[in-house]
Amino acid sequence: MTEPRNHVVGLMVDSAPPTRFSPFLGALARWCRPRVLPDARDAVAWIATSPRVADPRRRPAAVWVSSLHDWDANKPAVESAHVLLTDDREVLARAGDRGVWVGDGVDVRGTVPLTPFVRSRWRARTGLPGDLVIHVGPPPTRVGGGGAGTGDAGIQSAEAHEAIADELVPTGLAVAAAVVATGPTLAAALAWGAPTVTDAASAAAIGAIDGEHVLVASPDEMHDVATRLANDHARGGMLGRQGRRLVEQTHDVVDAAALTAQRLGLRDEAAPAPLDVLSVRLAELWVTDDAAIVERVGASLGLSHGDLA
C-alpha cells in the first residue's frame, strides 16, 4: 500500500501494553508513522496504550481503555480523548460514538482458514486420526459432573482424553476435524475455519448463529455433535467458511485501524497510485504473507518487488 504516510503519530506507551496493541499498530502504520516522542513537537495525533499515560493536553488522541475501572480511575484523559480503543464490551457500550472495537484478542489476519479437506490432508501427513475432535476454552458447567476437560484445552477422540499445552492449541485448531470451543476461544476457532460446536452463551457473545456459523449444543451433547460434524465435510465446510467470514467482519484489526486513522484525520483523500491496484486485489483475497505472492506477481508482471510495495 502506498498511501502517503507522512503523518507522524506520537505514542504514549506504558510498560505493559495490551496484547492486541502490536497488530493494531502494525495495521495503523499503513497511514502514518508512529513514533515515541518525549515532547509534543511534530505529531499530528496521539495514541496512548492506557489512560494512565495519556496526556489530556495532547490532541487529537486515541486512548486504549481496557475496562470500566480503568475509565473511572483516569477520567480526565478518557473524557478528552477523541477515540476510545477497547476490547471490552462494557467500555464499548459506554464509549458510544467515540468507541472503536479492536476485537477479542484474535489475530484474524495472522490465521489461515483451513477447509475440512485440507485439514484431512494435514492429518494424513502427520498420522492423526480422521475424526479428531479438540476441546478448547473453559469447561462449560454441566449437570452431574464430569466435564469435557479439567484444564483449558483437551482432546477427545473415542478413547483419548488428554490436556494439551497452550502452544499446541493453534495447531490443534488448524488440523482438527471438529472443535468444541467455548468462551473467548470461540473466535479463535472460527478464525481457523474450524467446524465448531459451542454453547448458546458463547455464540451470542460474538453474534454467531446456530446452523449458520456454529452448531449450538448443551454441554452433555457437545462432544457427540462434534464427532458427527467431524465426519460431515459438507456441513463442516459450510459452517467453517461462514464462521470465518463472521470473525473477518467483526474482529479484523485492520478495519479498526482504518477507522481510527480516519477519525484522527490521518487518511488523505488522494486516490491510490496505479500499481496499488494489484495490492488491493491481493488484499481482497486476504493475502497476508505479502512477500511470497507479491514477489511471484512482480516476477510474472516483470515488475520488481519495490514497485508493488
Binding site: 490465521t111 502427520t126 498420522g127 492423526l128 482432546i155 483419548a160 493453534p170 495447531t171 504473507d289 511470497a292
Partner: protein
C-alpha cells in the same frame, strides 16, 4: 510460507498427545525409489543407497531451477536422468567406494595399527623422548628458514625477503626485455609493434553482430555495474588519473567521476565512444596500445581493463602490459578482470560462447606476464563463485558419505569455482 502453527515439531507433539502409536507415514516421493534388499551384498546395497542419495542430491540442487521452468513433466524427468548419468554416476561412485573400502577398511591392517598405537601411547617414557626429538626438529626447521632469509636479504632477514625477491625478479625481467628488444631490432630493424591488421582492443569478426550478441548474453547491465563498482571504485578512486581501457559506454568512468577522480577512457567502438562523449566523459576512439604509447611516462595513476584482455592476442597483451608498466607512476595500479578458465563450467560455457575471446587466460599466465612486463607485485582476486553442489551433511549418514562429500568437493573446486578473477599489479613504489 507454512503457518507457524503447522510446523512439523508442533504436529509431532500433537500426535503424541493424541496417543497415536504408529509413526506417521512418510510423505510419498514423487518418483519410485529402488528398494534396498537386505540380502544383497554390501556393495550392491551401497550402490542402491548411493543412487538414492544421488537422486535426492540432484533434486535438491536442481529443484529450484526446475520449479521455475516451463518444461512439461516428461522433459523434467529426462533431465533428471541426464544429470544422474553425469558426474555422480552411480557406477563410478560404486567403484570409488569399492577401492576405498579395500584400502581403508582392511580389518587386519587396522587392528594391527591400533595395537601399535596403543603400545606407543601407553609408553610415557617414549612419549617424552619423542617430544624432545620433535622440538629439536622444529628448531632445525627454524634455523633453515633463517638461513634462507639471510641468503635472500642479508640485512633484513626473512621478513624483508618477499620484497627483495620481488625486486630481484623485476631486475631479471627488465634485463630480459631489453635483451629481447635488442635482439628483435637487429633482425627486423623496426621496433616491435602490434600486427598491422589487428588493433589492440579486439579484432572485429566479419559478419558477427557483436552488439546483438552482447544484448542477448551480457546480462543485467545495472547489476553488473554495481558489482564492478563495488570491486574497483574503492581501489581506483584515489589513484587518478585513471585510464579505462575498453571503457564501452563509460559506466565505470561515471562511477569514478562521481568520486572526484580524473578518468580518461579509450575504446575502438565508434558508436559507444560517441555516446560516452555525449555524456560528458573524456573518451577517445583509439586502440589501447597506440593510445598508451602516446602518454608520457609515469603519468597515470591506474590503468583498468574490465573484460578486455581475453580479447587480445598474447603478444598484444604483453605489449599492453609493458607499456602500462612504463606509463604508470611509481605505486601505480594495473587492474584487469577476465573470466577464470580454471572453473571448467566457465571454460565450457560462457568463455567459448563469445567468439571474440582469443585465448583462455589462466591466472598463472596473467601473473607471469605482469611480472615479466615490469610490475613488481601482482595479486589475484577471485569473484563470482559458481553455484556449488550441496554436500551431504546428515549426522546420521553412514561413514562412506564422507567419500561422497570428497567427490562433491573436488567437483565443486574444479568445475564450479570462481567465474572471474582480477589481477591487481603494481609498479614499484616511489
Amino acid at each position: 510460507m507454512t503457518h507457524p502453527a503447522l510446523q512439523q515439531d508442533l504436529l509431532e507433539r500433537l500426535r503424541r498427545v493424541v496417543g497415536v502409536d504408529a509413526p506417521p507415514p512418510p510423505p510419498p516421493e514423487p518418483e519410485p525409489e529402488p528398494q534396498l534388499d537386505p540380502n544383497a551384498p554390501v556393495v550392491q546395497r551401497g550402490v542402491t543407497a548411493a543412487k538414492r542419495l544421488a537422486k535426492r542430491l540432484m533434486r535438491r540442487a536442481i529443484g529450484p531451477v526446475l520449479h521455475e521452468q516451463v518444461t512439461p513433466l516428461s522433459a523434467e524427468v529426462q533431465r533428471i536422468d541426464a544429470e544422474l548419468s553425469g558426474p555422480l554416476n552411480p557406477r563410478a561412485l560404486a567403484a570409488n567406494i569399492e577401492s576405498l573400502r579395500d584400502e581403508v577398511l582392511d580389518q587386519h591392517q587396522l587392528s594391527a595399527n591400533f595395537e601399535l598405537l596403543r603400545g606407543e601411547v601407553l609408553d610415557q617414557h617414549h612419549l617424552a623422548v619423542n617430544l624432545e626429538l620433535l622440538k629439536s626438529e622444529v628448531r632445525g626447521v627454524q634455523n633453515s628458514l633463517e638461513e634462507l632469509g639471510r641468503a635472500l636479504a642479508p640485512d633484513v632477514g626473512l621478513a624483508g625477503a618477499r620484497m627483495r625477491f620481488a625486486e630481484l625478479r623485476d631486475r631479471v625481467n627488465t634485463l630480459d626485455r631489453r635483451f629481447r628488444a635488442a635482439g628483435q631490432q637487429e633482425v627486423t630493424g623496426d621496433p616491435p609493434g602490434p600486427p598491422p591488421d589487428s588493433p589492440a582492443g579486439g579484432a572485429p569478426i566479419a559478419g558477427f553482430d557483436y552488439i546483438a550478441f552482447e544484448r542477448r548474453f551480457r546480462g543485467d547491465s545495472a547489476e553488473i555495474m554495481e558489482r564492478t563498482g563495488e570491486r574497483y571504485v574503492g581501489l581506483l578512486a584515489d589513484r587518478g588519473p585513471v585510464l579505462d581501457v575498453g571503457c564501452g559506454l563509460g559506466e565505470l568512468m561515471e562511477l569514478l567521476v562521481a568520486e572526484g577522480t580524473d578518468v580518461i577512457g579509450v575504446d575502438t567502438h565508434e558508436g559507444m565512444v560517441r555516446e560516452a562523449r555525449e555524456r560528458g566523459l573524456d573518451v577517445h576512439c583509439d586502440d589501447a596500445i597506440s593510445f598508451l604509447a602516446r602518454q608520457a611516462p609515469a603519468s597515470l595513476g591506474a590503468v583498468v581493463a574490465i573484460h578486455v584482455i581475453e580479447h587480445l592476442h598474447v603478444d598484444q597483451l604483453v605489449e599492453l602490459l609493458e607499456l602500462a608498466a612504463t606509463r604508470l607512476r611509481p605505486g601505480g595500479l594495473f587492474v584487469a578482470e577476465t573470466p577464470n578458465p580454471r572453473a571448467l563450467a566457465v571454460l565450457g560455457n560462457s568463455y567459448i560462447l563469445d567468439p571474440t575471446h582469443v585465448w583462455p587466460l589462466h591466472p598463472g599466465l596473467v601473473t607471469f606476464l605482469c611480472e615479466s612486463a615490469g610490475f613488481c607485485e601482482a595479486e589475484l582476486r577471485y569473484y563470482s563463485p559458481g553455484e556449488q553442489l550441496e554436500r551431504v551433511d546428515d549426522p546420521d549418514a553412514p561413514a562412506w558419505v564422507s567419500q561422497l562429500n570428497a567427490v562433491i568437493d573436488r567437483i565443486n573446486d574444479s568445475i564450479f569455482g570462481p567465474q572471474e578473477y582480477a589481477i591487481v599489479a603494481s609498479t614499484k613504489p616511489g
